[in-house]
Amino acid sequence: MSSETVFQTRAEDSIGGDFYAQHFQEGCEENTLVLNMGPQHPSTHGVLRVILEVDGEYILRAEPVLGYLHRMHEKMGEVKSWYQFIPNMGRVDYGHPLAWNWAYVGAVEKLAGIEVPERAEFIRVITCELNRLASHLLWWGAYLLDLGAFTPILYAFDDREAILDILQRPTGSRLTYSSFRIGGVQTDLDEKTVQMIRDFIPIFRERLPMYKALVTDNIILRKRVEGIGEMSPDVIDRYGCSGPVARGSGIEYDVRRNEPYSIYDRFDFEVPTEDTCCAAGRYLVRMEEMAQTLRILEQAVDGLDKAEGGCIMEKAPKPNWKAPAGEAWFAVESGRGKVGVHVVSDGSKTPYRIKLRSPSYSNLSSFAEVAEGVLIADAVSILGSLDLIIPEVDR
């Protein structure tokens, strides 16, 4: 009674589904199952839809369908003024919004030739690196939740609460920060905040070995993660992947090191790279990045006292400020990869065009190729190791 409605493989049968599913099913082989890892799924991080052609448990073809979360940020950039667009940047990526803030503000400052005071740069580095820690913790917890371990996410959120409390003090928000301004930052870090950061760093350093003991060394996790999702450097090259995805395959590219912006060339930190090319490599890269972020934080907090200037430049742009005509590109390293903003201005009240380059979009495009021939459980593991934030993919 139900075989025709469950298996839809032959072209003569009424092919159900929408445009994408029908188009996908035309290329199907015999006796395969077409599954929708649909927009509502516990472990696609957001509204991502992946159409899978599955033979038993092996995936033959995969096709991500995007656009379920398209909110037209780039169009809003054309309608809002320069100053008003900053809250938009807080919402593009809820994992690491300060990186997006920085990319936009950096592009506008480059366009207008504005120089940011040194203290503001230090504050930017400190808040952005704290946000990177929070983003990696969220990724770690969510990845393990996909793999079936229900407790590490709560331990990660416990640490994250401390970071969010620290970041609440200068920015006022806990998740979607829009505290960068053109020419500096919104509020200065007061004594108490700096002391909280100084106290936080050794506490978190002690937690990292616990994460290693509970999860990273666990044999079940290692079997789920080692050798899964081989992404050779050729694949990275072709799809333009960046961030821990590229560094997990041996390509040593970090925007903070290769194209230094702001004051990153003053800090001494390593760029962790693994050449196992699999999900385990990406996992270890991110865990090591958390330790390196702590190093940067220590150096930045020490340098904050000697920094000159205020938290925002003198005569900072007001909400009705107009940028001069021209275009500028600024790239920043976020928790997911290389974030870029290309700003085109024609001298009027609003930008002419803002193009947002999102790393998750490029990382996700490689999924179709990487997921061929793997099991469904592995597909979940690969998606998690790519660290996708779907609002960033769809903007």
């Binding site: 100053y83 008003q84 807080g90 806990r174 666990n218």
Partner: protein, 195 residues
């Protein structure tokens, strides 16, 4: 032999990692909870001070139920989401003395001085369901008449509950010894719509 080490010793080492994992979770089982158990416990005020909740008006130091606002509309025009609506006060009708002075000035051919409206606003509505908490309005106000509140226990049953009348809020805050939230709750309960 290498195969023996790989097939027997390595699995034993791997299985040991399972016990280590159990030990970690067992240790956490015995630790104190980190949950702040609302409503038996609440977040302490020190943490809340820096939280940016919805905006509220700042009263004048000498008359706290009148806001410092001068109805310049800077906040309303700068807002990226268009959620603030400020209504100016209309000029009051002239009193009989002022009317007599105006008539005299008109008769003499001098400039007629009309009574001017006071600067503070007649109405100040915030549609919080559109607000993105960017802080532009707070920064741009020339008289520093706006600030963030820090009510994290904000609750409403419909969208209309989040259209705040900030003047009313300021007035209730200015009344001595009356906490704002209690006032608001009383107002909600007596409101026929959401009883």
């Amino acid at each position: 032999m290498e195969t023996i080490r790989r097939n027997i010793l390595q699995p034993i080492k791997d299985l040991w990692s399972l016990f280590v994992g159990l030990k970690v979770t067992g240790k956490f089982f015995a630790m104190k909870q980190v949950t702040v158990h609302y409503p038996r416990q609440v977040i302490e005020d020190e943490n809340l001070k820096s939280y940016a909740g919805h905006i509220e008006l700042v009263g004048k130091p000498k008359s706290p139920s009148i806001p410092k606002c001068i109805s310049c509309q800077m906040c309303a025009t700068s807002c990226p989401s268009g959620c603030i609506k400020v209504t100016r006060q209309k000029a009051p009708k002239p009193t009989p003395e002022q009317q007599k002075a105006m008539d005299e000035a008109k008769a003499k051919g001098e400039k007629v001085k009309k009574p001017t409206a006071p600067k503070n606003p007649a109405g100040f509505m915030l549609d919080y369901s559109l607000c993105s908490l960017c802080g532009t309005c707070v920064e741009v106000c020339p008289v520093k008449s706006l600030r963030f509140s820090n009510d994290i226990y904000l609750v409403g049953r419909s969208r209309d509950d989040f259209k705040f009348d900030l003047l009313e809020r300021l007035r209730s805050q200015a009344e001595p010894g009356c906490p704002v939230s209690e006032k608001k709750q009383q107002a909600r309960m007596t409101d026929g719509n959401h009883g």
